[in-house]
């Protein structure tokens, strides 16, 4: 299978705090990889490094075979091929849903407004948001806002999607609708790297699960193996705590 994403020896520190300490990871095209690990284990930072929102201190990142950490790459062009969805949605509050979705296609890709809106409405329809196109984000529920954020990322037709704990800020009853959207994306062969606390979901949707602790990958493997028979003691401890918290 072709390679979607590869990280080689990625290091990242904030001041004296080393958040990523040598990450090697590759994701095949169409593969869904879930990152699990405690808060502060480096999941979000890893995703932000892949999208170049944070520059890496050392190491290399390849997307679709091309090194994006090389000098002289067009950061904006790279970002257009990678969609990222944040925990806090980060919709633009001063724009209607439709404008949130069409802003980047119009300004970054240069699509004419009519075409961008046509495509945006099709995407919104696909994710059950057709009647919300002209609403402002603060009129939507959390689940609707997060689905809008996913649509906004998809509008650029990315080859890779990064999801950063997209259900963590949602009320429990709204989690399912967002997970359904991700399921649908996974089924459509989108390459995805998902940081999540939803262990049951990771188990169901992931082709591979990666456990991060202290800025390194402690263990990775198929979900059945990671959740049923983790090899590493740290993985077992982490999953034990999750079970005790009744989250698995």
């Amino acid at each position: 299978m072709a390679e979607g994403l590869r990280l080689e020896g990625v290091h990242k520190s904030f001041g004296r705090l080393a958040v990523l300490r040598g990450i090697d990871l590759s994701v095949a095209e169409g593969e869904v990889v879930c990152l699990i690990g405690a808060s502060g284990s480096g999941k979000s930072t890893l995703l932000r490094c892949v999208n170049l929102l944070e520059p890496v201190d050392a190491g290399r990142v390849f997307v679709l075979g091309r090194e994006i950490t090389a000098r002289g790459v067009d950061v904006n062009e790279i970002r257009r091929s990678i969609g990222i969805v944040f925990q806090a949605f980060n919709l633009f509050p001063h724009m209607r849903v439709l404008d949130n979705v069409t802003l980047a296609p119009r300004k970054a890709l240069g699509l004419p407004r009519a075409r961008a809106e046509e495509e945006a409405r099709a995407l919104l329809g696909r994710f059950g948001l057709a009647d919300k196109a002209l609403e402002y984000p603060d009129r939507l529920s959390g689940g609707q806002q997060q689905r809008t954020a996913i649509v906004r990322a998809l509008a650029l037709r990315p080859r890779l999607m990064l999801l950063d704990e997209v259900t963590s800020a949602l009320d429990p009853e709204l989690v399912a609708e967002v997970l359904n959207v991700i399921r649908e994306l996974a089924a459509s062969d989108m390459t995805m790297l998902i940081a999540t606390h939803e262990m049951a979901f990771a188990r169901e949707v992931a082709d591979r699960v990666v456990f991060l602790d202290g800025g390194v990958i402690v263990e990775e493997g198929p979900p059945e193996q990671i959740f049923r028979a983790p090899v590493e003691a740290r993985t077992r401890q982490f999953l034990q705590r999750i079970v005790e918290a009744k989250r698995l």
Binding site: N76, N90, L103, A108
Partner: protein
């Protein structure tokens, strides 16, 4: 529904009066207003010097005679601050954006913007007008306008842009960095993120303090008179000198108040609207 709850709280000034409060509190508000103002008026009117003050400040005939001329001169004030406001909105935005630029290479640019705001907020407006109004034309450079009106407006633009730039900058800083991150993550350039995502939110938030600065500017348009142009204040001085009566000053004061009140109420309304929006759960 939250909007209605906030609306029924009524305006700060009118208390329950405006929002359909109980009849008793309305009556109370009216009664206390009548008493307070009645006492104040009585105090002034019963003072020993009142007859003389009334003659020299409240002469009905002189009021009527000087009003048309002062109102005509006031039109110059209106033109001064209208031109100045448009220029300030633009100049201040440029300065604010320059000050917010990141990166070590751009340090001199940020520094320059900082020096500008420090300088023009520090020097009294009246001095800037004197220095530029008399100094700039005295250079006798070809192509440099000599008109005091021109330099008066330039002075006001320079001084008020320094204030308004700081207002803009507060607005820019108040937009959470995650908004820019979201815009950049969609492949927008830094400039596009600023223009389409950060600035629209920043400007919306600072409209009330911005209008507040403009109320100050409207009054300061009278300072331009110091270097020559006959605007309302200068015209009233001329009238006073001719009649030995101060009523024309009152005419000018009235005109300024009439002009600033709508802007002040608009500012209040915008602030109230923002508060309602926040209460209704908006971002």
């Amino acid at each position: 529904m939250n909007e209605r709850a906030a609306g029924s709280r009524g305006s700060r000034i009118l208390g329950d009066l405006g929002g359909g409060g109980s009849g008793r509190s309305t009556a109370l508000a009216i009664a206390s207003t009548v008493v307070v103002f009645g006492v104040l008026v009585l105090l002034v009117v019963s003072s020993p010097g009142w007859p003389a003050v009334r003659r020299s400040f409240l002469d009905g005939d002189i009021f009527g005679d000087s009003f048309p001329e002062i109102a005509r001169a006031f039109w110059l004030n209106v033109r001064i601050f209208c031109i100045a406001e448009v220029l300030i909105l633009f100049v201040a935005l440029v300065i604010a954006v320059l000050r917010s630029l990141p990166g070590a290479v751009l340090f001199p640019v940020r520094m320059l913007a900082l020096v500008y705001t420090d300088l023009f907020r520090g020097v009294p407006t009246i001095l800037v007008i004197y220095i530029l109004g008399f100094g700039a034309p005295a250079l006798e450079l070809s192509g440099v306008p000599r008109s005091p009106m021109f330099w008066g407006v330039v002075s006001l633009v320079l001084v008020y842009s320094a204030y308004v730039a700081e207002v803009y900058r507060a607005g820019i800083d108040s937009v959470h960095p995650s908004q820019e991150a979201a815009a950049r993550s969609l492949g927008l350039t830094r400039g596009q993120a600023l223009r389409f995502v950060v600035l629209p939110q920043a400007v919306r938030r600072v409209i009330p303090p911005l209008l507040n600065d403009f109320i100050g500017l409207q009054k300061d348009s009278a300072l331009v008179a110091l270097i020559g142009p006959v605007e309302a204040f200068r015209q009233s001085q001329i009238d006073v000198a001719g009649s030995f009566n101060y009523t024309p000053y009152l005419v000018t004061a009235l005109l300024f108040v009439l002009l600033t009140i709508p802007l002040a109420r608009l500012t209040d309304w915008l602030i109230a609207r923002d508060r309602r929006r926040q209460l209704s759960g908006g971002a």
